[in-house]
C-alpha cells in the first residue's frame, strides 16, 4: 500500500449524518474530481481529506498514516502546511496583505526564514505569470489573478496534494479554463489533485470523477473524457 491515500468513514455531525459510509482510494499523482448535488457531502469529504474535519467514524489514511487517530492540532497543522495546498472558490486571500505576502504566509507557519519565504513566493508568482503583480493587494487584482495567487500560495511548501473547492466557481468560463490549464500542468508535474466541482466542463479535466449523493459514493470511476 505504498503512496496511496485511502479514506473510509462514517460521519455523522451530531444527528445529521453527512457522509454515510464513504469508501474511496485516491492514488498519488491522480487528478480526481468530486461531483454530486448540493448537500451530497462533497465539501465535507474534501475537508476530511484536508484534515480540517475530524472523522466521526471510520478510518482515514494519508501516506499510510492513520490520520483519524492523529487528532492533535500540531500534527494536523503540520500536514496541512507541508503536505497539502488549499484552493478555495472565493480565493480567501488576506485582503490587507500583498500578493507576495499572501503567498509567503504558509512559509511562515512552516518556519522558513523571511528571505527564503519571500524568494519562494516570488518564484511561484513568477511561474504562474504574476511576477509583475507581487506587490498588489487582492482588491487590485482580477478574479483570475487572485485565484492564481491562491494557487501560488497552495504551492509554496511543495505539497503532494492540492485540494480545490470549486476553484472556478467565482470565475467566468474563460478564466476558469486558464485555471484548469494550470491544474493540468500541476498534474503533469506529479501533484495529486482532488477537486470539488459541479461543472462538467471543469470536471472533464480530471482523470476520473467520484460521484456522490446523499452522503454516499455512487460511482468512483466515472470518466467524462470518454463520453465526450
Amino acid at each position: 500500500m505504498k503512496n496511496i491515500y485511502k479514506s473510509y468513514y462514517l460521519s455523522n455531525g451530531e444527528e445529521i449524518p453527512v457522509l454515510k459510509g464513504v469508501d474511496a482510494i485516491i492514488k498519488r499523482g491522480e487528478f480526481v474530481a468530486i461531483m454530486g448535488e448540493s448537500g451530497g457531502g462533497k465539501s465535507t469529504l474534501l475537508n476530511i481529506i484536508g484534515c480540517l474535519h475530524p472523522v466521526s467514524g471510520g478510518e482515514y489514511f494519508f501516506e499510510n498514516e492513520n490520520i483519524s487517530l492523529a487528532q492533535d492540532d500540531y500534527t494536523l497543522a503540520y500536514i496541512r502546511n507541508m503536505k497539502m495546498g488549499f484552493i478555495f472558490q472565493s480565493f480567501n486571500l488576506i485582503s490587507r496583505l500583498t500578493a507576495l505576502k499572501n503567498v509567503a504566509l504558509p512559509g511562515l507557519f512552516a518556519g522558513l526564514s523571511h528571505g527564503e519565504r519571500l524568494n519562494r513566493a516570488k518564484q511561484r508568482l513568477t511561474e504562474i505569470g504574476l511576477g509583475d503583480r507581487m506587490n498588489h493587494r487582492p482588491s487590485e487584482l482580477s478574479g483570475g489573478q487572485q485565484q492564481r495567487v491562491s494557487i501560488a500560495r497552495a504551492l509554496i511548501n511543495n505539497p503532494e496534494l492540492i485540494l480545490a473547492d470549486e476553484p472556478t466557481g467565482a470565475l467566468d468560463s474563460k478564466t476558469g479554463e486558464e485555471v484548469m490549464r494550470i491544474f493540468s500542468d500541476l498534474k503533469i508535474a506529479g501533484k495529486t489533485i482532488v477537486m470539488v466541482t459541479h461543472t462538467p466542463e471543469i470536471a472533464k479535466y480530471a482523470d476520473r470523477i467520484i460521484f456522490m449523493r446523499d452522503g454516499r459514493v455512487i460511482d468512483c470511476n466515472y470518466k467524462l473524457n470518454s463520453t465526450q
Binding site: L52, Y74, R80, R96
Partner: protein, 398 residues
Amino acid sequence: MKFEILVMAFEALFSNKTRSALSMLGIVIGVSTIILVVGIGLGAQLEIEEQYKNLSVTSILVNPVSTASSISRLSADDIEVISEKAQHVENATALTQGKLSVSYSKEEGQYTVLGVQDNFFALSNLEFASGRGISDQELKDRAKVAVLSQDLIDDLFAGNAKKAIGETVSVGGKKVEVIGVIKGSGSSVGPITFDDSIYVPYSTAEKNILGSSGSVRLIVLANSVDVIADAMDELTVILRDSHNLKSSDVDDFRARDQGSRVTAAQESAKTMSALLTAVASIVLIVSGIGIMNVMFVTVAERTKEIGVMKAIGGKKEDILTQFLMEALVLSFLAGLIGILLGEASMPFINKIEGWRVVSSLSGIVIGFSFSIFVGVFFGFYPALKASRLDPVDALRSE
C-alpha cells in the same frame, strides 16, 4: 518568526487605524494618569520635606497669643526658665520678629528682621554660605552685626555673598555689619520663611532695632519624639508660671509640635496618592475591557482569515500568538504614548500654583508594566477564542 508575527500585528492594526487609536486611548489616559499621580505624590512628599527639613520632628513652636486684656509675655527670659526647669527639653531658643526696610548703598527693600539667639542657626539646621553666625558675646554686647539670607544677597549685593561680608547695611535706619550669609533652604517655621530674612542678635533687635514691636516666638526641641506630648504639657505649666498667669487666665501662647504636622501632611499626601492611583487603576481596567471588546470585534471580523490561516497550516498556537501580539502591540504603543503624554504634561502642571509633580522612574515603570499587563490579560481571552475556532466553520463565515 516571532518578529514576522509582530510585523503582521502592526499591519493588521494599521489597516484599521481609527479603531486601534480609539482602543488605545483608554490605556494612554490610564498610563499618563498613573505617571502623574506618582509624580504628584512624590512632589507633595518633597514639598513637605523641604518645608520642614530645617526643623527636626521633635521641635515645638511656641507662638504668641494676644488676648483682649493683655499682650503675650513670651520673651527670651522664658528660655532661661525652660532650660532650668524642663525635663523633656533638649534645647530652646527665642526669636523676635518684625518687618523693616533694609538698605545698602542705593538698594532698598522690606524684609523680615529676626532677632535670634546664638543657638538659633544650629537649632534650625541653617548652613552658612560664608562668614559665621552670631556669638554669645555679641548677644551680650548687643553687637550691631547681622547675618543675611539669600534673598537679601540677591537683592542688595547682586548675589555676591563674599562681597557682603564686612559691609554695613542699614536696618530700619540702624547700621549693622554683615558677619555671615546663610544658604537658601526654602524652608520656614510657622509664618517665618528663612530665605527672606535678616538676622540680628536678639538683644540688639529687642533694644535697638525692633523694640517692643517685635513678636516673640520660641522654638523648643524635645528630647525625643516619644516625649513631645510630655514636653508640651511641661512647657504650658512652665510658661504659665513664668508669665504669672492666674488659673482663670487663658494661655497667652500656643505651642504646636512640628512632628505631628509633618506626619499629618505626609499622611494626607499618601492618602491622596493612594486614592488617585486607585482611580488610575480603574481607568486602566476599564480600558482593558475596551481592548478586549475591540479584540473580540476584530476576531469576529477576521473569522474567515482565521479559517484560512488554519487551512494553510496555522497552528492554534500561531493564531493565539497573532492576536495576543496585536493586543500587546496596542497596549505597548498606548503605554509609550501614555508615558510621553504624562511626562510632557508635567511642566504645565508645575505652572499651576500650589501643584508640583516630579518625574520618576517608578511612575514610568508602574504605568508601563500596568499597560502591558492589561494588554496580555484582556487580550488573552479573545486570542484564545480565535485559536479555538473550528477551521471549517471559520472558512464558511462571511
